[in-house]
Amino acid sequence: MAARHKSVETKYMEDRDAVLRGLRRLDRRTFLKVLAATAGAVMAKSLLPPHSFQLVEVANAAPDKTASGTGMAGKPPFTFAYVSDTHLYQRTLNQRFVRAAVKAVDDVNALDPQPDFVLFGGDLAQLGRREELDLGRQILAEVKAPVKVMVGEHDWFYDLGDTWQEMFGPPNYSFDWKGVHVVVLMSVHEKDFWTERKMTPAERMHTVAGLDNGVQSRFEVGDDERKWLSDDLAKVPHTTPLLVFSHSPLYKYYRNWNFWTDDAEQVQAILKPYNHVTVIHGHTHQMLYNQIGNISFYGMLSTAWPWPYAPTGLPPLTIQMNRADPFDQFDGLGDGQINVRADGLADKIYSLWDRNPVTVRADYLVSHGKIARPPAPQFASY
C-alpha cells in the first residue's frame, strides 16, 4: 500500500522541488518574489501549514560578530546540535529506527560550520539491551563533532544502568563550555515498583517503556542527584549562563504519560538564582517549549516516532506542531540545533524532516510570548 499511495507531504515536497529546480536561473530578488507567490498558492490549497514555506531567518548559527570581534575566547556564542530518542532495537529486528538514527547523524555531520558538540538526548535503545546500546554507540561513533551522551529510561531499566554506564560513564556530569556551565542530569530515576510485583528485568523494562500504564513510578532526579547538583553549582557564579540537559522535562506536563519530573519544583529552585538557564530535554517527541521564571525549556525531536500532545498540561507558550502524517515515516521527526547567544540565552532550531525548520527564539520565551512569536501552523493539532 505504501508504494501505491504517496503521502500528501511527499507529493508536496516533490512538487516543490520541481518548482525550485525551475527557479534556479532567476536572480535572487525575482526568486524571492516567485517563491512568495508559490507559497501563497500552496497555502491557498489549505494543504499545508505555513511552516513548510517559511523563510528561515537563521538557518545556521552565523558567529555573532559583536562577540567574536572582541576576541574574548571562552565566551558564547556557540552552537551545538542534538540527536535524541532513537529507540533502537537490534538491527536484525527493526531497520526503520536504524535508518532514522543514521539520517540524523548524516544531518549533524552535514552542518557547516560544524557544531561545537552534539548532544545525544537519551533513549538510545528501546529495551535497554546490550545489543541495542551497542548499535547506538556504533551509530553515534560516526558523528564528526564531539558527542555528549545523556541517558533515558529506555537505556536504563533493563539492568538499572549497568551496560549504559559501562559504555558511556556516569549518567550525570557537568562541564564548562565557552563561558557557559553545562549540566547533564539523569532525571529518569523511578521508585521501586518492580520488587513487590516480582517483575523480571525484562518486565520492568517493558513497563517503563510504555507511557500509558499506571504501574510505573513517576520520573525524578532524586535526593542524591539534587544534592550533587547543588554542590556542582556551588562554585558557579549566578551570572554564568547555565545549560541543563535532562531526558524528562524538568517540569510537570502530563503525569499519566510521565511527561513529568516529580521533583521538578525542587530542581527549579536550585536553578532559580541564575540569570539565564536553558533546559534542553528529550522524551516528549514533539515541538515543545516553556518558560518558568528564569528558566527556558526546549523539548527535542525524536528520530523514531512523534507523540501527540497530551490532553492537558501543555505549556501555554508552546505552539503546537501540526499532526504528523502517519504515511510519512519521517514527518514530525528530526533533530536540531541550539545557538547559545552572546547574551547567554539560547535559540533553538527544530530541524524537522520533510518540513522546513522552525526557529524558536529565546526572546519569545523570556518575554512570555510578547515578541518573536514563531509561526503557527494552519491547522490545530487536535
Binding site: 500500500m1 505504501a2 518486565e203 516516532w305 502517519p326
Partner: protein, 241 residues
C-alpha cells in the same frame, strides 16, 4: 523468555488494574459464537411464512412462493397484519421502539432482592421489561473484558502479527490521536473513504509491519472496541479531518 511471553507477563502485571472491574476470567480474542436466529415455522402448503422481530408472531403470505418478492403494497399490508396480531395477543402491552420511542413509559427497574432473578428473555416484550442489576453487571463485565482485550492487543505488537517490535501504543498512548469519532472520512493518503478499521489495518501493515487483519478477526474487533471506548462521550463528527 520469548518476546511473546514477556509481553504476556507484562499484561499479567497490568491485569491487577483491571481486577477491580473484571471478576470473570479474562476474555481472549476468539471468534464469537453465531448470533441467535429466529426459527420461522414451515409453510404447510409450499408458501412463505413471515415472522415479526419478536421471534414469535408469524403469518403465512397467501400466494407467495419461496424465492418470490412481495410488492411494496403487499409487504405493507403484511407488516400491518403482523403488528395487529401481536397487539391482539398482548392486549395490555405497548410495543416498545427501544430508545427512539419517547412516548414509552420508563421500564421500572427490577431490584435484585437476593431472590432468584427472573428469567431473561431475548424477545420483544422480554428484554426491555425484565432485566436486573445483575444483568447490567454481567453486560458491563462482558463489554469491559472485550475492551480490555483490545487494550492488551494495542500494547502488544507481536500479538497482532507485528514483526519489528512496534505496537500501537508507542505512537498512540491511551489511543490518543486515533479519533474514531471522525470516521468515515476521506483519507487523503489512501485516496478513498476509510473506516477506522481501514486505518488500524494500515498501521498494522506499515509501521507495525504485520499483515492486515480480516474485518471479522476478533483481534481487529477488540482493537476497534478499545479505541472507541477511549473516546467515550466525544461527539460523533464523521468526515472531520
Amino acid at each position: 523468555m520469548t518476546r511473546r511471553s514477556i509481553a504476556l507477563a507484562t499484561a499479567a502485571g497490568c491485569a491487577a488494574i483491571f481486577a477491580a472491574v473484571a471478576h470473570a476470567p479474562r476474555l481472549r480474542a476468539q471468534p464469537a459464537p453465531p448470533l441467535p436466529v429466529h426459527q420461522v415455522p414451515q409453510s404447510k402448503n409450499g408458501g412463505t411464512v413471515v415472522m415479526l422481530c419478536d421471534g414469535k408472531t408469524s403469518m403465512e403470505v397467501k400466494g407467495l412462493k419461496p424465492g418470490e418478492s412481495m410488492t411494496h403494497a403487499q409487504a405493507t399490508e403484511v407488516t400491518r397484519e403482523l403488528m395487529a396480531q401481536w397487539q391482539r395477543q398482548h392486549p395490555n402491552e405497548k410495543w416498545q421502539m427501544a430508545q427512539t420511542d419517547q412516548s414509552s413509559e420508563p421500564v421500572p427497574a427490577v431490584k435484585a432482592t437476593g431472590a432468584k432473578p427472573q428469567s431473561r428473555g431475548t424477545q420483544q416484550g422480554d428484554t426491555y421489561a425484565s432485566f436486573t442489576d445483575r444483568d447490567y453487571k454481567v453486560w458491563k463485565n462482558q463489554t469491559d473484558n472485550f475492551v480490555a482485550e483490545g487494550k492488551r492487543l494495542f500494547h502488544d505488537g507481536a500479538a497482532i502479527g507485528g514483526t519489528i517490535g512496534v505496537s500501537c501504543d508507542m505512537c498512540h498512548p491511551d489511543a490518543s490521536n486515533t479519533h474514531p469519532e471522525t470516521y468515515p472520512k476521506y483519507q487523503v493518503q489512501l485516496q478513498r473513504v476509510a473506516l477506522l478499521r481501514d486505518m488500524i489495518d494500515w498501521c498494522i501493515e506499515n509501521p507495525v509491519k504485520g499483515k492486515a487483519l480480516d474485518p471479522n478477526d476478533p483481534r481487529l474487533r477488540a482493537l476497534e472496541a478499545y479505541i472507541i471506548a477511549q473516546r467515550k462521550g466525544v461527539a460523533l463528527d464523521y468526515g472531520k479531518h
